[in-house]
Symmetry: C3
């Protein structure tokens, strides 16, 4: 059955898959490579979460996820590149990041993971797809940029954990957490909020 949570998840997969396929087309790769990049970016983070949990990767049980990924790659391939504006993509990516982090933590909690590792799993769900995409494409990873990104995922994951622990209804908790992470990432993009970088051999002030 397609629940609102499933829709949230599939939307996140589609956004990340598109960003993966675009990374491939920007490198002037072939359609098959674009599909591969769409796959690893779309399901990389969630798969690693599932592997660490010791369960089968979710997308193997699902008819829709692999289809959504292939459709995303097709969409990128057959439309002009200028349709996919950097700005629009960044906002879509922010939404996917926040949703995946919230969902990842919720799944970890369901599987009885301790609170702190559950937040870490949420962050992994949100960020790892993009990291693998960047390593394969040979571009500097989002990890290395000072802009708030992992931090936004951590906020989303933390809110998700706290809301669920307080007994909030699942869908509500996920939406609240996603909104918090999306808001922080959005604010970081608009006002260029950055974390301080480490200043060698001087103790840094704080995060």
């Amino acid at each position: 059955m397609v629940t609102p949570v499933t829709v949230l998840e599939l939307a996140g997969v589609a956004v990340f898959a598109v960003s993966g396929a675009l990374a491939a087309t920007r490198l002037c790769q072939t359609f098959v490579t674009a599909c591969f990049f769409a796959l690893i970016t779309g399901v990389g983070g969630g798969s690693l979460r599932d592997l660490l949990l010791g369960v089968r990767a979710e997308w193997l049980e699902d008819r829709l996820v692999a289809l959504v990924i292939m459709m995303s790659a097709l969409a990128v391939w057959f439309t002009p590149g200028r349709w996919w504006r950097e700005k629009v993509l960044e906002w879509a990516d922010a939404a996917g990041l926040a949703a995946f982090a919230a969902l990842g933590t919720a799944k970890a909690v369901e599987y009885g993971v301790q609170p702190l590792p559950a937040i870490v799993l949420g962050v992994i769900s949100g960020c790892v797809g993009g990291i693998i995409r960047d390593v394969l494409a040979g571009v500097p990873s989002i990890l290395m940029r000072p802009e708030l990104y992992v931090t936004a995922a951590a906020l989303s994951a933390s809110v998700s954990l706290i809301a669920l622990e307080m007994g909030m209804q699942r869908l509500l908790a996920l939406l609240l957490a996603s909104a918090a992470g999306f808001g922080l990432r959005g604010a970081a993009m608009i006002w260029r909020i950055e974390l301080p970088a480490y200043a060698r051999d001087r103790p840094a002030k704080a995060e």
Copy 2:
């Protein structure tokens, strides 16, 4: 018991292990590094398939796989480099690719994976070992080359799925699928068949 399917699998492991060990000797590495490269190339794809399936990696249960990998590294180390002709290796790699893709999809089907993800798992089984080898060795990945490679794995995986779904006997289905994938990869090598690369800002014609 050593079945024909086991022989097919061990031959594939040996071929990939040799290609991994050669990548290490070409970088003038040590014997231990050569073993490590042989290992990840030989069992990388199959291991990721097993992890995604949520089961233990096959080579942990097996006395022979780790031995075959070590023998492959030894063979590469103690024989002159010119014995290992690029041409011969490429053909052996094509055979390994096709066999692993067919075997990977067959295992996924046995474990109740949906059809489209089962094909994806077959492709992963065939291609991922080589991808990790290339990332670690710092050479451009086969993923990035336009020659039909992933596509040949996808053909082998698809034929394997269809033949098994139609009730064909397992060994026969695997051999048929491997032959199809090997044939396509071989044709691509002989006649340099390539997929069209993405042409920026113009809709491409087709795959």
Copy 3:
């Protein structure tokens, strides 16, 4: 309950986490990135071992591991860089490497893995965290250096296996194995013991 084995494990996690966080601060990254590097370096090897075994990653069940990693990142962030001398770190890393390799093999044996793959799993436990750290940081991997490193892990893993198979008490076997691996790595650092690199097109003499 905190057993001596747990203490050994947590110490190894702390050492690797510190080396990961330092890799991030040397690249002048942010605190969040430093935490991420500390995480992958601290639990990367053990996690891959657990994934290959088909069980849940150990640190998800544990309240302490994630905490130790975060404390390590904090310690690196708020202390002057010159406190962390390369020399001290290399020795700490040697201790972590040897302990993880011994522990990894012991866990594999407990889970019924065959002897040779059990040694391989020990080596993976010890080395993979550092390898992922190096790939993400974009520096040449320890894998590629001729100094005895993987070999020391292999010695520790092998001693662990043999001692356990001979019925030695667990803690004793682990300490003996760690001492052997640490000793070899230490000797390699002091006397610069190196494996011979592959000499192209001439058969090498031996390992």
